[in-house]
Amino acid sequence: MPGLEDLYREIILDHYRNPRNRGELAVPPAHRVEGFNPLCGDEIVVYLEVEDGAVTNVRIGGQGCSISQSSASMMTSAVKGRTVEEVRDLTRAFKAMMSIHETSLGGDDDVADEVPEVEVDLGDLEALRGVVKFPVRIKCATLSWNTLTQALDEAIADHS
C-alpha cells in the first residue's frame, strides 16, 4: 500500500504552506474562471492574462486541500511566461501523468510507470506523480489545470 510520503512530498507541502501567485488580477485585462470539485466542494479561481500568445500573469484564489492547492501553486509557477502552445503541451503532459489505466486499477503495480512518456519537462510537478496511487485524489490535482484550460480558451476566443 502506498504511504503518505508517496502523496505528500516535501515540495507539495511547501507549495501548500507557501502558495505562489495567490490573489487576484484586474478583470479585464485578466480572465477569471471558477472551477469546482463537486465531490468535495473545493473551489478554485484562476485569473489569467494572455498577451501576444503568451501567459503574462496568473493568480489563484479559492480554497482546497493540500493537493489541489499545491498543484495550483506549482501550475502558476510553471506556466507564467510560457507561450500558449507550451502551456497546452504542459497541460497535456500533466494530465497524462494523472491518468490511470483501467487495467492497473486495484493492482499493486506502479501505475504511473505505465503512462506513456511525453516529451515535456514537468519539473517540480513531477512531485505530484504519487497522486495516481490515490485515485480519489486525482481530481484534486487536476482541478486547477482544467480551470486553467477553460481560462486559456476564453482568453484566446476573446483575442480572436
Binding site: 503518505l4 465531490l39 468535495c40 466542494g41 473545493d42
Partner: protein
Amino acid sequence: MALSLHDDLDTAAVRADFPVLAQPTRSGGPLVFLDSAASSQKPRQVLDAMTTFYETEFANVHRGVYGLAEMATARLEAARAAVARFIGAASAEEIIFTKNATEALNLVARSWGAANLGPDDAVVLSHLEHHANIVPWFQLQAERGFEIRWIPVGADGLLDLSTLDELLDGAKLLSVTAMSNVTGALPPIRQLTDAAHAAGALVCLDACQYVPHLACDLEALDVDFAAFSGHKMCGPTGIGVLWSRAELLDAMPPFLGGGGMILDVRLDGFTPDVAPAKFEAGTPPIAEAVGLHAAIDYLNAIGMERVRAHEVHLTEYTLRVLDERLGDRLTVHGPPEATERGGVFSLDLHGVHAHDVSQVLDEDGVCIRPGHHCAKPLMRVLGVNATARASVYIYNDESDVDALAASLERAADFFAF
C-alpha cells in the same frame, strides 16, 4: 429528549454480527468504521436472509400463481408490514418501496407537489437540508413557480425558529430533516409539525438519519410524509421508503409509469392502481425488501431505545475525548449537547483540509468522509467548504473514538507548520 435507558448495548456481540468489521484494512490494521451516516454496514442476519431468499424463494412478485411467486410476494408484503410497524404507520398500504430516500422525496415533489403547488404557494425548507430535500423542490419550482423559504440555523447549530410563524404563513408544505446528516442536529419535529399544521401546511420529513438511530413513532411526530433509506439502517442498498397517510396517497397522481402500477391500459390511456402499487412501477426491490425486513428484525432485537442510549453515550464520549485531546485545534460543528444531536460529527481540524485529514485517517484504518456531505447551503452557513465527518452506529464503541482522536492528532502533527 428524556432517556429511559443507560447504555447497556453489548457492542462486542454486535460487532461479531458484522463480517466486514473483521476485515483487515489496506494498512493491515483493524477497521475503524466511522462512516455510517453515509451507509451502515450489514449484519450477517441481513446477508443470510437475502442469500436464502435468492437460493430458495425467489421469483418475481404479484400475478405469478406458482409456489415461488406466491412465496416471494408474501415475503415482499411481510417486509412492507414490518416497515409499517417499525415506524408506527397505520397500515402496510401506506408504505411505498422506492429506490432510496432521494427517490421518495422526488416522489413527494413530483406527485403531491406537482398536483398541489402553484405560483401563489410556498414551500418551507431549512438550512440543514440534504440536497435530496432541496434540489427536487428547485426542479419543481422551475415548472410551477412557487416560493421557497428557508428556516435558518442558529449559532447553536439548531434551527432558529424565531420567525417560524412568518415563514409558514401561506405555506402549503414544510419539508425538513429529522436529523442533520452533517451535524447530527435534531430539530424539534413535533413543534414544527404543530406550527405547520396550525398554518395549514403539510409536513414532509427527511427521516434518513433518524429512522436508523431513534425510535420512530409517526403518530407522535404527526407528520404527513416521511422518507428514509434501507442502507443506512443495516439494510441493503437499492431500497428506500416513502410513508404517507392513506388519504393523501389516494389523492396523489402516480409518479413513475409502467407495469405494476395500473388497473387498466387501453389505446386511449390508463387507469392507475391504488397505493401502494400506484407508486411502485416496475419490478420492486424484492430481495432488498427481504434484507430490509431482516435489518428491522435485527434493530428490534436490540431495541431502538437501546440504540439511542448507546449513541447518546458515545456522542458524549466523543465530544469529551475530542475536546480533551485536540482542544482548540479542532472545531466540532453542531449542537454541543449530546441529547440534542445524533452521533454525527463534522470536524474542522484547523489548518488541515478535510481531504487531507481523511487521507491520514485512512492510513490508520479510520474510515470517515470528507466533503460537503450533499448539504452545500449548510456548509456556507458554517463558513466552510468541506468538513471531515465521522459518524457512529451500534457497532462502534469507545475504542473507535480513541482511534479517531489519535489519528486526528497525527494528522494535526503531520500538517503542522
